[in-house]
Symmetry: C2
Subunit: 218 residues, 2 copies
């Protein structure tokens, strides 16, 4: 039986970024020192992270870029909870991994801005739907995935087995929309509003607020 890896969030987030770096890395090898220079993280921390994910293919002159990228993709694509969750649709994106299905709630300026940037390409996430209560937006906006009126949310989320949502509605609608998402079965929310969401313990929220971030770069 395979050992199940339970990564600390801090490591996980670094790995996501490391993947970005590796994607654009032209050389065949990469060292922990080079990564350190690109990121500011201590090289020992990077080695420690790779140790945590059980990657020990490094030799004294660095890691093989491609091998490392594959290993990271593997560990990021599939988490403990997934193992049990076999009824998910298996989309064959990114080399046969299970895909996590995502929707966007709210297609105002902010939500619409997410439509055209191929947010999740080359990641284990797949945007399956966008929702807005404004019918006009739903009809006019173009995107690579289907857009629906908010009234169909419950139905579409179940049908498409969507588990995660990006919340991009106006602040005033954040609370009610969150309730609806949770009722529909959403398990994790990326919150782009300024509202602090009140959710049950089993629902995960990540706040992606500019105000928060500004306070950290001071």
């Amino acid at each position: 039986m395979n050992t199940v890896i339970k990564l600390p969030d801090s490591t996980r987030i670094r790995l996501v970024q490391l993947r970005q770096i590796l994607k654009n890395w032209t050389e065949q090898k990469i060292t922990s020192v080079a990564i350190s220079e690109s990121t500011g993280w201590k090289s020992s921390l990077i080695r420690h992270d790779l140790w945590l994910i059980g990657f020990n293919k490094g030799v004294s002159n660095g890691y093989n870029t491609k091998e490392l990228l594959t290993a990271i993709n593997k560990v990021l694509g599939l988490k403990e909870s997934d193992v049990a969750y076999t009824e998910n649709t298996v989309d064959s994106e990114s080399s046969g991994n299970l895909c996590k299905n995502v929707c966007i709630a709210g297609l105002g300026r902010l939500g619409a801005a997410l439509l055209d940037q191929n947010l999740t390409e080359d990641s284990p996430f797949l945007i399956k739907a966008g929702f807005d209560s404004n019918l006009n937006r739903v009809e006019v906006l173009r995107s690579t995935f289907p857009l629906y009126p908010a009234s169909e949310m419950q139905f579409v989320i179940k049908k498409e087995k969507i588990e995660y949502a990006i919340l991009a509605v106006p602040d005033k609608d954040a609370a009610t929309m969150t309730e609806r998402l949770i009722k529909a079965g959403i398990k994790g929310i990326v919150n782009m509003t300024n509202v602090v969401l009140k959710v049950p313990k089993n629902i995960k929220v990540e706040n992606l607020s500019i105000l928060n971030s500004l306070n950290l770069v001071i």
Copy 2:
């Protein structure tokens, strides 16, 4: 002489969110348990945070909402580094605090989405300028602060004493734009691109990437 408060980032970010909650709190008092229910943070953690900022006005039936909000505003508006930095323009927003000046780099769909949502109202930040290399955007877009062609960046950032930037350019331009911002004197960047920015040690970066966040709500 006043004691200078040096807050851990983790506490700081919670305080920013706590401020949001307090703003919308209708009752006159609030307890750490009530905050805990709204956020999921342990109530002891909240009390500890308030202890760190030296707020000990609580009595056995909770904190005075208004008093607490004032205290948090005070501590968030001004950080250690500011004390020395007296040459900043003092805008009299939010009750006489020093304001941190911010600009937006990149006014595509994403950057433009930031224009109309009054991002920083009621915070110690003030958006002073938006930049884009596309002249048309600069002229057509409406906003409460002035927009400039990217060519004037260097000049405007110095003139307006802008210290922080929100980076919202397309991924391919992220690296060069970052260099230009730093050359112009920017000290902190909120990075909304998917690129991992390479910056000198003295520059702070906060990554506000959806991909990162999605990986955390799994």
